[in-house]
Amino acid sequence: MENTFSPRLLPPEEARIADGRLSLGVRLPWYRALPLSVTEIASLVIDGKQVPGEKIHLTLNGNRYSLDQLPEQVQEAWFVLDSATLDVDVALDATIDHQIALVVHLYPPYIPGLTWVTGGTLTLSAAH
């Protein structure tokens, strides 16, 4: 799961808790832009607990999607320098640290059969 993009998957400066809800910036773990249709948020674990997919929404280029809508987004390009935002509908206490682990699967559309698995972790420090 760890690859060359893992250290950059979850930029610390793009993670925050606002109104008790977590918002995470996520980088595309690949060297070129890909359509959103070939990306998959495979797993999000917060403090050891798996977050159900229906609690997560992804926003890219100003458009917000549920995870089950992603395979249809052939026209939505995720540029390689941009972050998508994951909004997580789980109550979190901003006054304590949280451990976050994300796994993203990519299916590069020109490499038949490849599933590119990238895991990244982040410690979200308690707000001061």
Binding site: E2, N3, T4, F5, P7, R8, R27, Y31, R32, A33, L34, P35, S37, V38, P71, V74, A77, F79, V80, L81, Y107, P109, Y110, P112
Partner: protein, 338 residues
């Protein structure tokens, strides 16, 4: 070329910005910064660009972007060599574009190359020979050459390449060719990549099994199957086997001489490489043999230095490209002097 003709010039050297994926992806250097760095280090003048990597909204290229790019390469003394385009056959997971859809998908990418002043587009085998044949009138109208990249696990005699060669024989267009990648000619797996496999697998016996099969006889597809068979027999975890079997697709050990069969159709080259030993030689890519084959074969086009060590290293790639080109220059000169 007749046998008594002296080879006067060898391949020309450049770089692909793919080599600098780390500083670009880390947002430390933008597209323009990379071009300036290539010029500053003298690792052009040839410069290859991946459309979907360097250009936002690609294949749309605005007039402003095109004008800025052309002014910049002129200012920096660089020369656009190849625009890497992508045959994204499976835009929808589990499906595959038909030939007409693929031709329509590639057309704006080829037009983008023309607009930016690239004479060549690097295509991929995700486009069938028929999809590519449909593009010939467009290539002719723009005077752009197109070639799919022959990347491991494929080699010059693999079935998809043979199918293209058959189509090329019928169409007989000077605008159609091939783009070899040196990863097909590895003599071993680079040490840094072996370390990565070790970390991923956490199973030294499985790593040694993969390496022994990789180093043995047989083609890449057979080797991958054989590894999976033996790994399953010894009870290797499926995830571990899967992580290790990637090595059979990334690198193959075709002889450098194998390119001779398509040398006259080679329109650009990806000089894939990884790392150097203490004496400055590439650890896996037989640079000397390859420069000899291409120089003696009369190839006078571009070789883009393509450092792929970023697969396991966080370095920027600039020092590596400088060193690789130094080796290439030495061995091209040696071949020319023979």
């Amino acid at each position: 070329m007749s046998t008594n003709q002296t080879v006067q010039a060898g391949p020309k050297l450049g770089a692909t910005l793919f080599a600098f994926t780390n500083p670009y992806h880390a947002r430390r250097m933008g597209f323009e910064d990379l071009l300036r760095k290539v010029a500053e280090l003298g690792i052009g003048p040839g410069v290859e660009v991946i459309g979907f990597s360097s250009i936002r909204n690609f294949p749309t290229v605005t007039d402003e972007f095109a004008a800025r790019f052309k002014a910049l390469v002129e200012e920096l003394g660089l020369q656009p060599t190849s625009l890497a385009i992508n045959a994204d056959a499976a835009l929808r997971r589990g499906t595959r574009m038909d030939d007409e859809t693929m031709a329509r998908y590639l057309e704006p990418q080829i037009r983008a190359a023309a607009k930016l002043g690239f004479p060549v587009v690097r295509s991929q085998f995700g486009a069938t020979p028929e999809a590519t044949r449909m593009l010939v009138p467009l290539l002719e109208s723009l005077n752009i050459k197109l070639g799919p990249e022959v990347h491991a696990p494929l080699g010059p005699s693999s079935p998809p390449v043979l199918a293209y060669r058959e189509m090329y024989d019928k169409v007989n267009s000077p605008l159609l060719g091939f783009i070899p990648d040196f990863g097909t000619n590895a003599r071993d797996v680079p040490p840094g990549y072996v370390d990565l496999l070790r970390r991923k697998a956490g199973d030294e016996e499985a790593v040694q099994l993969a390496l022994s099969i990789w180093r043995g006889p047989g083609d890449a597809f057979w080797k991958r199957e054989e590894f999976n068979r033996q790994a399953a027999a010894r009870g290797t975890a499926p995830g571990t086997a899967s992580a290790l079997s990637v090595v059979f697709s990334m690198l193959t050990s075709n002889a450098p001489e194998s390119w001779a069969s398509i040398m006259s159709q080679i329109i650009h080259v990806h000089g894939k490489f990884y790392e150097f030993d203490a004496s400055g030689e590439e650890t896996a890519i037989p640079c000397r043999d390859l420069m000899r084959v291409f120089t003696k074969g009369g190839y006078q086009g571009w070789i883009s230095a393509e450092w792929e060590g970023h697969m396991y290293s966080q370095e920027d790639g600039f020092d590596q490209v400088v060193q690789f080109q130094k080796l290439c220059r030495k061995y091209i000169a040696e071949a020319l002097a023979e």
